[in-house]
Homo-oligomer: 262 residues x 4
């Protein structure tokens, strides 16, 4: 089976390109499943119930999140009720939302999905390593295809997770830095890996935000509103082919989709 | 003119692939200048006078450094004496080494070179922004071709530097994360940009170090020696074509060179 | 002459105890000058023009700030216009507000005042060391009494500043951690020093904020509004006696003032 | 019963003052138990078997550690074998050493002891909160007197732990910043609390290290060996009186002991 993982959707420009492209991409690339990280989809930070619906209606099959998971508290009911959305599994047990889920791909494959937060250069968070062990142990053993979004700042930590889970999951794909890395590969044990798949949103920007604002504040310390930018919108993601018998990856390819100018 | 910038050379494996490939790459790609970041070339951390000579003899024309600049104190004399090596410019004024230099490329172009350290998630360091202004002002105004190695952890900060110097330098290429990013581009003002060009060394590793050691220490907190790894050695770098009249970039391309197995 | 430095005023409880006590403390302790750090005085973060006036009217002679300096943009006009308030001097040159000032104490002594931000565990900021040199060089040389508020997280960095300025200023007193340290002393060169003078506000709190809210969010990751707490209000500060001829400190004493319960 | 907790013993000067004073302090203050944090006792970093023996022989009844716990690997056997020494409990399960222990005080009281690392501004580490719950649940329920060393950088995190454990343990005393805080108190639930008890070692220093070296490296980036300093040696600690029936604190008092000059 073949899945596409779409990196951090940023604001309205990110949502718009997802809406315009997902159907087309599904067909063109014969995708069985589309997963997206939506942690920045609401105005650049967090997710709302309306946007959740919008993304699902657009054809996104499952949603992962990151450090901005609770920026919009209205998302709580969605996190508790809906079955195709997960919160970072290594947040405290009491945190709202499920730590893993399964969804059924177009080809009938049941796919286990979870996301985890990195520790390095990020807010204090529990061990992603032992949490990964626990989450994988909790998934039904006949769920062979398993997808991990590792939301992480440091490349070293991303690589450690890839190696730690190599052979145990189908893919460990990173998010959070908003820049795709050119290191997509299949690790020796059969796990597809990439430090970061990049973001989906305006690239004439500083990781999605208006350049003028970010530069001014950085240079002068004068605070400015870091509005989501508007131009050079791209969808960044990664396509992984998986052997449904073994759950191991067969191929991995970066995808960068840009709207054609009329 | 065309230059190749080689990302962080890690340990002996990194040095070996540089020695084997630089001549070949120069010819094959018609390179006029080869710059390399050598901050990890001595056993994974720092640089020694012997290794400096080794790299220059191999055909590296100029050397930049990063946060590990002073790990080997023997390098001081080289930093003070040699003209084709720079230390991060935003270290304190008193720090050993020059903050910028010029070298003459094979085609006769004089190229200004500097490196800067990022502030985010790194050790305390002075403003890279105002330091960049100062360094660029200090370079002779007829030096049109100007190269900046921005040694930086956070993608946001790398992008801010790209935008801040866009149109003022030929290239802002990042180092330090040891993973190449797939975002190489020419910014609107004509500056070649990439968040990170990746590392030169063993890729069957955690950013250059032995996987088993790093994973064990991460999982258990038991300290282990983080020796430089040995396998899957690659040279990562980026080639930039520059208009010598304007100093602006014409083309940018990622390069990943692997030794052929005999 | 004798000055009192009041640590971070937090919210309305902090302002109230300042208003009630400053007159009394001035008399009781024969204070010639009262300086206060007001970075948290507006709802726990930042400062407004109205609160600035309130504090000055209460008897505060001069105001320093910290990392929250620009949380309330309305303060800009005050920062530009008023002469008894300084912003952290190692913010970029372009940042609003003066980097140092002088005020006249009740005994006629002219006192130079500045504040600086630490680098460790704080947002990227320029060198406090060289900035301190510049600010001290800019003050008129006949201003012998010089006060430095060092707004800093790490004890090591606070101590380095104390030693760096020892003998060059009358006092280096820390703020930012909101907890007074029991290390007040006069350094060998004659500078009064303390890592942190503590905060002025509700102490039945987590550094000024409601305990229940902070504990809940820490334990569960569920976001809660970190309102300023209300109980056990104290004014923390430090009194320094200074020889006006030499500008060196003669004595240093911690002060903790609590409202009496009726 | 009455216990003394001695803050981070730094190097030989720290060990010497412990050896000279512990017997005297025990008698003078009628101490039933002496606990010490020894994470910096070997040359400023870590602990060795020989120093462990030296401290125990000097009269230290139990030892806690911090982030430098494994700097000297020779300590492993001591950590595994000896019953009066604990490693930070929120290190990974696989880490060497016990997560809690009990020792018998001079008055016959059995005292439960553990230490925990903070997360803020420190290396990635598991939850101190849930680990505290687990450790306290593991201690025999008839052990009423319970001591927690919270090795932590940020005052906010120290206060959260105090509040989280208030009424559940006898004392939460902090270490790691090497500077005593003037906030010792008994919290509403009966737990003795202080953000940091300070260090035991040379105070003519930067948190125990030679001033000239630390200042030079900070100012110039030139690396220097941060040797342990030598002068103004003090023992910093805190004395807590505990009701052995309830396990709650009755009194808390800071102690600063200096060698008398002959
Ligand atoms: Fe994120
Ligand atoms: Fe994101
Ligand atoms: Fe580096
Ligand atoms: Fe490096
Ligand atoms: Fe602050
Ligand atoms: Fe504050
Ligand atoms: Fe420590
Ligand atoms: Fe320590």
């Amino acid at each position: 089976m073949r899945l596409l993982f779409i990196g951090d959707i940023v604001g309205k420009p990110g949502r718009e390109i997802v809406k315009h492209s997902v159907g087309k991409l599904r067909e063109e690339h014969s995708l069985d499943l589309i997963i997206a990280n939506a942690e920045n989809s609401a105005g650049g930070s967090g997710l709302t119930p309306a946007i959740y619906k919008e993304l699902v209606k657009a054809g996104v099959d499952a949603i992962t999140l990151g450090d901005h998971v609770y920026r919009r508290k209205e998302i709580y009911t969605v996190l508790e009720r809906e079955e195709n959305i997960v919160r970072p599994a290594n947040l405290p047990e009491e945190a709202a939302g499920r730590t893993w889920t399964t969804v059924t791909a177009a080809d009938g494959t049941i796919v286990g999905i979870c996301c985890l937060l990195g520790q390095l250069f990020m807010k204090p968070i529990d061990t992603p390593w032992r949490t990964a062990d626990r989450v994988l142990a909790a998934m039904p053993s006949d769920v062979k295809v398993r997808f991990v979004d590792f939301h992480v700042e440091a490349t070293s930590e991303a690589q450690i997770m890839g190696r730690y889970l190599d052979g145990r999951v189908s893919a460990v794909l990173g998010t959070h830095t908003h820049v795709p890395t050119a290191d997509e590969c299949i690790l020796p044990g059969g796990t597809a890996f990439q430090c970061d798949v990049g973001m989906t949103g305006p690239h004439e920007s500083i990781i999605g935000r208006r350049i003028d604002r970010v530069v001014e504040t950085t240079l002068t310390s004068n605070p400015t509103p870091f509005d989501v930018a508007t131009d050079d919108v791209r969808l960044n993601g990664t396509i992984v082919d998986i052997d449904v018998e073994t759950g191991l990856a067969i191929a991995i390819e970066r995808l960068c989709y840009r709207e054609e100018k009329p």
